[in-house]
């Protein structure tokens, strides 16, 4: 699979992949807003037909002073089509995004939300990428499920 920075032409494929994979979905304008505001942070994996089979959509947040005022990255959405799993695509997508958060925006850390029940994803974030659970957000998801807020301190990877 080809892994590269997301382009506008990928947006429809990213949106479609998200709708097939995850219960949290977004309108096109949301996808556009992210890649047009932080064009360095979102990545895709495509197959040899040029179909998007995985993506990561990310942004930068500046915390208010009382929260520490740290610039940090946040992963809005990441998913890989079931039929393209076990290739390590999610890991690579995450690493590329993290690297850009750090090198372009000097992000101190990266955060994300994950369903408490999503053991596979938690495994990837914690065991493969080194994230830790920072807090629990009660009933974060539309259906009432709790979310873990996971964080990873960013360092120069290369």
């Amino acid at each position: 699979m080809n892994i590269r920075l997301a382009r506008p032409k990928d947006l429809a494929g990213m949106q479609a992949g998200n709708l097939v994979n995850l219960p949290e979905n977004y309108l096109m304008k949301f996808w556009m807003y992210h890649i047009m505001t932080w064009p360095q942070l979102s990545f895709v994996a495509e197959n040899d037909k040029g179909h998007i089979v995985g993506y990561v959509l990310a942004k930068i947040e500046e915390e208010s002073e009382e929260k520490g005022g740290d610039i940090h990255g946040h992963v809005n959405s990441i998913s890989v089509l079931r039929s393209y799993r076990r290739l390590g695509l999610a890991k690579r997508l995450m690493m590329l995004s993290q690297d850009a958060m750090y090198s372009v925006y000097k992000a101190k850390y990266v955060s994300l939300h994950v369903r408490k029940s999503n053991l596979a994803a938690i495994g990837l974030y914690r065991d493969t990428l080194g994230f830790e659970v920072a807090e629990v957000e009660k009933k974060y998801y539309g259906d009432g499920e709790d979310a873990y807020v996971m964080k990873l301190v960013l360092k120069n990877q290369s």
Binding site: M1, N2, I3, R4, L5, R7, P8, K9, L11, A12, Q15, A16, L19, V20, N21, L22, P23, N25, Y26, L27, M28, K29, M32, I35, M36, T37, P39, Q40, A45, N47, D48, K49, V53, L81, R82, S83, Y84, R85, R86, L87, G88, R92, L96, A100, S103, V104, Y105, K106, R115, S117, G142, D143, G144, E145, S158
Partner: protein
């Protein structure tokens, strides 16, 4: 809305004048309730004050009282035609209605009375960009820069305007001037970095590569450009264009940075002067080095498989396949499938997988096995082989292998999805749906499997039951799962359900879904509007330009093309046979659908009632809630009956096809659809052009053959010749395609002779005979020749043949179905209605017994499941 001139009818005494100023600022801060009061205060004394009337109207529209508001705005304009405010207000309203051209006219009018109004100019620039009026945009941006040269974005905006208008040289000049004005650029500033990257792009597009490289390098060194990846990519590209010795290293650095990016390897190879097709040996050697350097990277190994051949290929493919099977990578087959165009490679993969399968089989004695005897490797080799044979249309063999695999591991969803796909290909849409549901039941939390199972149910005609599945993951407060998916712009859902309705003959509902696809793309197009301002303020120019380019080609997306083709075919059928539009459309609606429709209607009514209520209550308790200026979408045709009974089916068809005339010129299906609509709309040149283009793409394409004859026949039966100049050109173009001396009957039989073993061609020849007025029996006889053993016939074509027979009202449809049913032993596509009813029950009964439904979705899920069980007539 700043400066105000005074003409007699605009005059307000000091008290009202200051009230009006207050009204403007209340509007700016969207204090709508207070604004409304203030406007009324003025109007009490000066009921015909145009600007106040307009402002009141604008406030009302924001409050959701659109019609009332617009009426006031229109009245206000009439009272004060020379006010920039009234035209500005009108422009805002039109923009909210997405009438960009009209809005621009109003804004232009407003500018006549207030030439240097920055707000007006900025809005005009956005409208001009949306409408791609780039020359006008340059003027507007120039004006804005002249008025406020201290605003940094005005410089970049002018450069972008020049760029879009095709004047790169001016764009460059503006950027250079702009950079001269900069003092104290903050160190490490992302916006400035983006701006410089844009400058480099302008230079690169001007082919001033050395200058571009110099700017890039100095900016990178100063840390003025902070995007490391962009620096590396642009640098490698520029160095290659400059044929620099450093280029090779630059590409290597990129590969190191991301060894899974094809573009980097391609860049490296082409920089080395290697063309993949011409020097595979050298390219392979390089890729081998990269494989050693990045042992975990897949791209160099996969790329090698494309380049290698013969023994070398075999040597590379074996470890590739084995390692993937050991790891249990489900995508191995789709990954290598594109290599199957080479029959030798196809055979290699088959041999490799068969041999691994044999070596790992539990029946094989351990001693003889050289590879790992991991039971999972055995399992994944079976999975690969099943996909392989399924792809080669050896369905029985594929299913046999899957039975083996399922006996080994009954809990792997992929085995069921493969089974489902195989059965679908074989025409057993019901068995396929059941298998896909079996897959879903193994992992009820996986939306991917959920979506697949819903899709397969739609393919089996089980639309309500598909909807019940989809509802497990859609919002519970939505009127229906479909409504939520439509709102979330799910093109997949809209197309699948549209197609399912079309196959069931519910053309109204099909058109409804295709129209919804069209609307999604309209929304995608509108979505860019705000970014014409936003992106320039953010200085993210490069991505912005790429977005504009994407927007310009938006409708070349396969989903749009599919919807446009399907809808235009229906509209053409309706035009040819208007009875289709008044037919008994509701006859096919199931109880569940009626129920869902009722529910949706009720929800819609409740929503409307609530809106009415709040609107009625508004004057008294008027809220400050801003509903914006955009017109909310209102569905006044929930069943699609208005679409179906349109008096202008061809115009609706053309509206969908029109964007494709430039975006899909190499799509023969599109060209044929354009012909079908154009010839009926009497746009003869368009029709002839479409035929000529289609013929250049594939002169023997069966559907094209029908149209060529149709066109010639059409001319010959016209009561009067086509008038000049169109007529002679049309006939000349046709003459080039098919010379006039040839009789159409002869031409058709020649076509048939040339393609006597192709079912598609036989169908086309039969359709052509029908066009030429051949008796029904003759056409039927021809159609039945597709059943002969030497004719290549698949289920898909067989279905087309069946619908053609239905269309010409042949009495032999049942006879054909019996024959097809006997021919396609696995297929359920040609069963009788009674048999189909039983099959539908069978699909649902055995699979609704589930223990692993998606959890965590609360009570709504349970309800959906119960409904599903009920609809199937079986208990859960």
């Amino acid at each position: 809305m700043s400066k105000r001139g005074t003409t007699p009818n605009r005059f307000l005494p000091p008290k009202e004048s200051s009230l009006f100023k207050e009204l403007l600022s209340l509007y700016e801060t969207k204090q709508l309730k207070k604004g409304l009061k203030t406007a009324d205060q003025i109007l009490k004394k000066y009921p015909e004050h145009g600007e106040t009337l307009c402002m009141k109207g604008l406030v009302l529209v924001h409050m959701g009282r659109r019609e009332e508001g617009i009426e006031l705005v229109r009245k206000g304009i009439r009272m004060d035609l020379a006010s920039h405010i009234v035209w500005h207000v009108f422009g805002l309203i039109q923009k909210g209605e997405k009438k960009y051209e009209e809005a621009l006219k109003s804004y232009t009018q407003a500018l006549r009375f207030d030439k240097e109004n920055m707000n007006l100019l900025r809005d005009v620039a956005q409208l001009q960009t949306q409408l791609r009026l780039y020359d006008g945009l340059v003027e507007t941006r120039y004006m804005l820069l002249r008025l406020r040269p201290t605003a940094r974005q005005n410089w970049v905006a002018l450069a972008v305007a020049y760029h879009l208008s095709g004047n790169l040289a001016e764009a460059k000049k503006v950027l250079v001037e702009y950079e001269k004005t900069l003092k104290n650029v903050p160190h490490y500033d992302v916006e400035h970095s983006e701006m410089l990257l844009y400058h480099v792009r302008v230079l690169e597009e001007l082919e001033q590569h050395s200058e571009a490289l110099a700017l890039l390098d100095v900016s990178a060194k100063d840390r003025a450009i902070v995007d490391k990846t962009a620096i590396m990519e642009v640098r490698a590209r520029l160095l290659s264009k400059l044929r620099s010795d450093e280029a090779e290293h630059a590409w290597k650095v990129l590969i190191e940075h991301n060894p899974e990016c094809y573009d980097y390897y391609k860049g490296y190879l082409s920089n080395q002067g290697l063309n993949i097709d011409e020097n595979p040996a050298e390219a392979l050697a390089i890729l081998r080095e990269f494989s050693t350097q990045f042992p975990k990277a897949n791209v160099p190994r996969r790329l090698s498989l494309s380049l290698a051949s013969g023994e070398e290929f075999q040597a590379l493919a074996e470890p590739y396949v084995l390692s993937a099977l050991k790891k249990g990578i489900p995508s191995l087959f789709v990954d290598v499938k594109s290599l199957y165009t080479d029959p030798a490679k196809l055979k290699s993969f088959e041999d490799i997988a068969e041999s691994i399968h044999k070596d790992t089989s539990p029946d094989t004695s351990v001693a003889s096995s050289s590879v790992s005897t991991e039971p999972t490797t055995y399992l994944w080799s079976l999975y690969f082989l099943a996909q392989h044979y399924s792809y080669l249309s050896q369905y029985a063999k594929a299913l046999e292998i899957l039975d083996l695999a399922l006996a080994h591991t009954p809990t792997l969803p992929e085995l069921y999805t493969c089974r489902a796909r195989t059965l679908k290909r074989a025409g057993d849409f019901h068995g396929a749906s059941r298998a896909m549901e079996d897959a879903r039941l193994l992992d009820g939390q996986d939306r991917f499997l959920n979506t697949k199972s819903a899709k397969y149910r739609m393919r089996a005609g089980l639309i309500d039951e598909a909807s019940a599945l989809l509802g497990l993951f859609t919002k519970k407060d939505a009127p229906s799962p479909g409504a939520d998916l439509e709102e979330m712009q799910s093109l997949f859902y809209l197309l699948e359900e549209g197609d399912a309705h079309r196959r069931a003959g519910r053309l109204n509902l099909a058109l409804k879904k295709y129209a919804a696809v069209q609307r999604v793309f309209d929304d995608y197009e509108d979505d860019q509007y705000d970014f014409h301002g936003y992106s320039l303020r953010k200085f993210t120019v490069n991505i912005y330009l790429n977005v504009l380019d994407w927007e310009d080609h938006l409708r070349s997306h396969p989903s749009y093309i599919k919807a446009a083709l399907a809808a235009s075919r229906i509209y053409v059928d309706i035009f040819d046979d208007p009875k289709l539009a008044s037919g008994n459309v509701d006859g096919d609606v199931t109880d569940a659908e009626k129920k869902a429709k009722k529910k949706a209607k009720k929800a819609q009514k409740e929503k409307e009632d609530a809106a009415k209520k709040s609107a009625a209550a508004a004057p008294a308790t008027s809220t400050n809630e801003d509903k914006g200026l955009d017109v909310p979408y209102k569905d006044d045709d929930p069943d699609g009956m208005k679409l179906l009974s349109t008096p202008e089916p061809l115009e609706l068809a053309w509206k969908m096809l029109q964007p494709l005339t430039t975006l899909a010129q190499d799509n023969i299906e599109v060209l044929i659809a354009i012909y079908d609509v154009a010839i009926r709309r009497r746009k003869y040149l368009q029709a002839a052009q479409a035929l000529a283009r289609a013929r250049a793409l594939d002169s023997e394409y069966p559907d094209l053959h029908v149209r060529i004859v149709h066109a010639r026949h059409f001319v010959s039966v016209l009561p009067e010749p086509m008038p000049a100049p169109v007529g002679p050109i049309f006939i000349e173009t046709l003459g080039k395609i098919l010379s006039e001396g040839v009789s159409l009957e002869t031409y058709n039989s020649q076509f048939l002779q040339n393609h006597s073993t192709s079912a598609q061609a036989i169908l086309a020849a039969a359709q052509t005979s029908r066009v030429l007025g051949a008796p029904l029996q003759e056409v039927e006889d021809l159609i039945f020749t597709t059943l002969r053993d030497e004719v290549r016939l698949d289920v898909k074509t067989a279905l087309e043949i069946s619908s053609f027979l239905k269309k010409i009202k042949s009495p032999r449809v049942n006879e054909l179905h019996q024959a097809l049913d006997a021919k396609f032993t696995l297929s359920t596509a040609f069963k009788t209605p009674d048999e189909l009813a039983k099959l539908r029950e069978w699909v649902l009964t055995t699979t609704s017994n589930s223990s692993s439904e998606r959890t965590g979705n609360g009570a709504a899920n349970v309800e959906n499941e119960a409904e599903l069980g009920k609809e199937a007539g079986k208990s859960v």
